[in-house]
Symmetry: C3
Subunit: 341 residues, 3 copies
Amino acid sequence: MSQLRMTLAEIQAYVDEGEVVGSPDFFCRSVASLDKAGDDQLSFVKDRRYFDKARRTGAGALLVPERIEGFEGNQLVVSDSHRVFGQLLTKIATEKRRQPPGIHPGAHVDESAEIGSDVTIGGGAVVREGAMIGDRSVLYANTYVGQRSVIGADTVLYPNVLILEDVTIGDRVLIHGGTVVGSDGYGFVQHEGQHIKIPQVGAVVIGDDVEIGALTTIDRATLDQTVIGRGTKIGDLCHIAHNCQIGENVLVLPTVAISGSVTVGDGAIFAGRSGCADNLTIGEGAVLGGTSVAFKDVPAGAQMWGNPARDKMQEMRIQGVLRHLPEMQRELRAVKKKLGL
Amino acid sequence: MSQLRMTLAEIQAYVDEGEVVGSPDFFCRSVASLDKAGDDQLSFVKDRRYFDKARRTGAGALLVPERIEGFEGNQLVVSDSHRVFGQLLTKIATEKRRQPPGIHPGAHVDESAEIGSDVTIGGGAVVREGAMIGDRSVLYANTYVGQRSVIGADTVLYPNVLILEDVTIGDRVLIHGGTVVGSDGYGFVQHEGQHIKIPQVGAVVIGDDVEIGALTTIDRATLDQTVIGRGTKIGDLCHIAHNCQIGENVLVLPTVAISGSVTVGDGAIFAGRSGCADNLTIGEGAVLGGTSVAFKDVPAGAQMWGNPARDKMQEMRIQGVLRHLPEMQRELRAVKKKLGL
Amino acid sequence: MSQLRMTLAEIQAYVDEGEVVGSPDFFCRSVASLDKAGDDQLSFVKDRRYFDKARRTGAGALLVPERIEGFEGNQLVVSDSHRVFGQLLTKIATEKRRQPPGIHPGAHVDESAEIGSDVTIGGGAVVREGAMIGDRSVLYANTYVGQRSVIGADTVLYPNVLILEDVTIGDRVLIHGGTVVGSDGYGFVQHEGQHIKIPQVGAVVIGDDVEIGALTTIDRATLDQTVIGRGTKIGDLCHIAHNCQIGENVLVLPTVAISGSVTVGDGAIFAGRSGCADNLTIGEGAVLGGTSVAFKDVPAGAQMWGNPARDKMQEMRIQGVLRHLPEMQRELRAVKKKLGL
């Protein structure tokens, strides 16, 4: 599926470096992992740890950081094989996802919206009053950009993405299918046994180079702004509640939930299905392990595990003892018996 | 973003009460929280606990329950500043989300559907055979209302909301983007190692004044009705499985999952990411704490924490001791050694 | 809602078996469960365990495996009442969801796509370049099938389903509303404090007879294929990460999350909100209990509970002792005091 369709000589020219071992005319139909690659496919070897595995691969050609003795196929030796392979993947992804340019006749773009140059808007997409779409951005089919929302340049909204009103999104942002940005947060006050809605009239601001997975919700602030910092990467099926202030280059893995009004420092990591209670501060570079949930502030750099989240080493010690809990109970009974307690 | 664009005198006239301290002509461009407000913004002070904070705000004007001495800006003194501020937020939200009236030419409304007066239907929305849409309801772009489904009056379906067939929704209901109501529940019977689908032919009934967050799923009953009671508020990314009977004024916070055939009493609260196993009864006014999961029935009024959920006080005591588990193990070893065990 | 509109004689003819007790002309308006059925409804009794309940039902007619003495209404005695009832449910479901045949004029089907015979494509649906749709498949309104993706025969995509590019889906597959197949997995490498995207250029392959619930995400492989085996059933709001290899006839209940590069054996069961860490192998027929999360490989046939998941019996013993942990602490203190420790 990952079509490449280049000879090693063409790859050499495209990445502008490297030395071919074997045939420069070897045609790489597509790319694959070392495990799965067949004789018309290109794979890559990151470093010496994978050389033995490379000697057993079925790949017809390898991108390598240095010549691997004992590999029978063709090799292209480059300075940084991992980076160069990434360059080829980007080329493949770009070609696989090429969009027909321009505004599809089935799109509904309000006449007051400002559309940049070389923008692509798919069928059924809606761009509302006063919205702005930056140059070269792509709105797939059935996306929605609400009133007065601003989308930067080179940003991609995959199908069914909803950007509600008054949302600002930076440049080079990727938002995957069905994700909802700017929906109302969960805010109610109780009044005589009924729950009265607090209208959510704030905004959402998303920085440059952010990526957001599929079917994730990022709620608008009650009054001010929910903020996602530049370079932050959010996975599928995550929930970022209203008023959160998420720093830069934060990693939020799939199915994470961050409750309302949480502040997250730069470079923090939320592993899969972790989360935190509302109104907390998670420090810079802090790490919440998989399925861990913080109910208290987390200091910068801390590594937290468990639910409720504790210092990782402490939690590991507790989990280590937990396994022995039934025998501790038996031993304690024996002790009590011996002492006549 | 939260545009207001009114002078204090205009606000006074709009809410029909209050006394201005300072300039009645002060123009409030927008609203903000005490923390963030600038000199052209209006904020509010709920009660005396916030007076000190109010004296340090940058807000140009404040809605206050009584005159605050020492605040330099303008004040509008009203009987219940929290309620009056809510009134202004509702006005802002209504204006921000004003929809062009009528049926968009890009909508697909079946000729057998009954559409009430002053209904708005956006581009790409689908209304199927025999569906009914109540007066003044708003169906945003790319919503879907299935065969024979009934939407009440003054109800809003945000973009991409899916209401499958034979679903009944009350008046003044809000359903946020991408939420799916009436999808098939998870029902299979095993037959010779294969899983055979049990067709899900029941319905969903949603009461008046319900709000449902973005990207939530509420599955139809197998045979009868999945019910969401009047006034219940459900967050983003929740799952209400088939055959559930959810009472009135229940709070279901974001990312909660309620398994099949669960009965939930009026006024119960499911905190963030809590949940319960199937076929349980959760009593009136019961509370499940954040990430707590019930595997047994919960009595009315009970407060439950943990996974599995236990009485909150018991769970807190257990968690309090858990921290000391490694030292308990060491102590027990010392005891055994002393006793020669 | 579950309209049937057949007399017992008509049902007898339709299922081609059975003996009527009472009136063959009894008209069954609809179906319902024993608990809820009224006097114009048909319900069913699976076996003798439900005979007492059947005598108290309000149902006008029952499908029964043998004549029930003491039930006043009408009965249709058939060989396997559960299976025959399922046959009627399938008939009802088929009629309730009947789609107008053909391609809606508001659909956007690329001219290079291959569309089989008797295919239904709803308004706003998009079929991209080089895609193939098998005979008799149904694409509801606002679905999306990406470039070069292949949909088998008799497959149903409910509204808003997104199938991105290079995805292959088998025959008789059901995918519920809003689900996203083929979105990018969560793959980044760190470079000088920034997170650089690893382009995800692999594919997704979904076998025959798979069902996938609403608002679920199945990510494409980085290079190779994410695979969902034949007959596997996945619930709502699940996440299957990139590179997973899910076997045949696996049950993945709602809100489950399976991390990247996990291999799951045939017939395994993930109960509600369970999950597992990345790069694990879950053996054939293994069971993860509700909310359990595996952080280590799970052997074939193992039953695992808890987070982290342990052998079910061990976890039950630990949970049984945990309740007594505060009293164990008190007892240990008494022991130490007695020993002067």
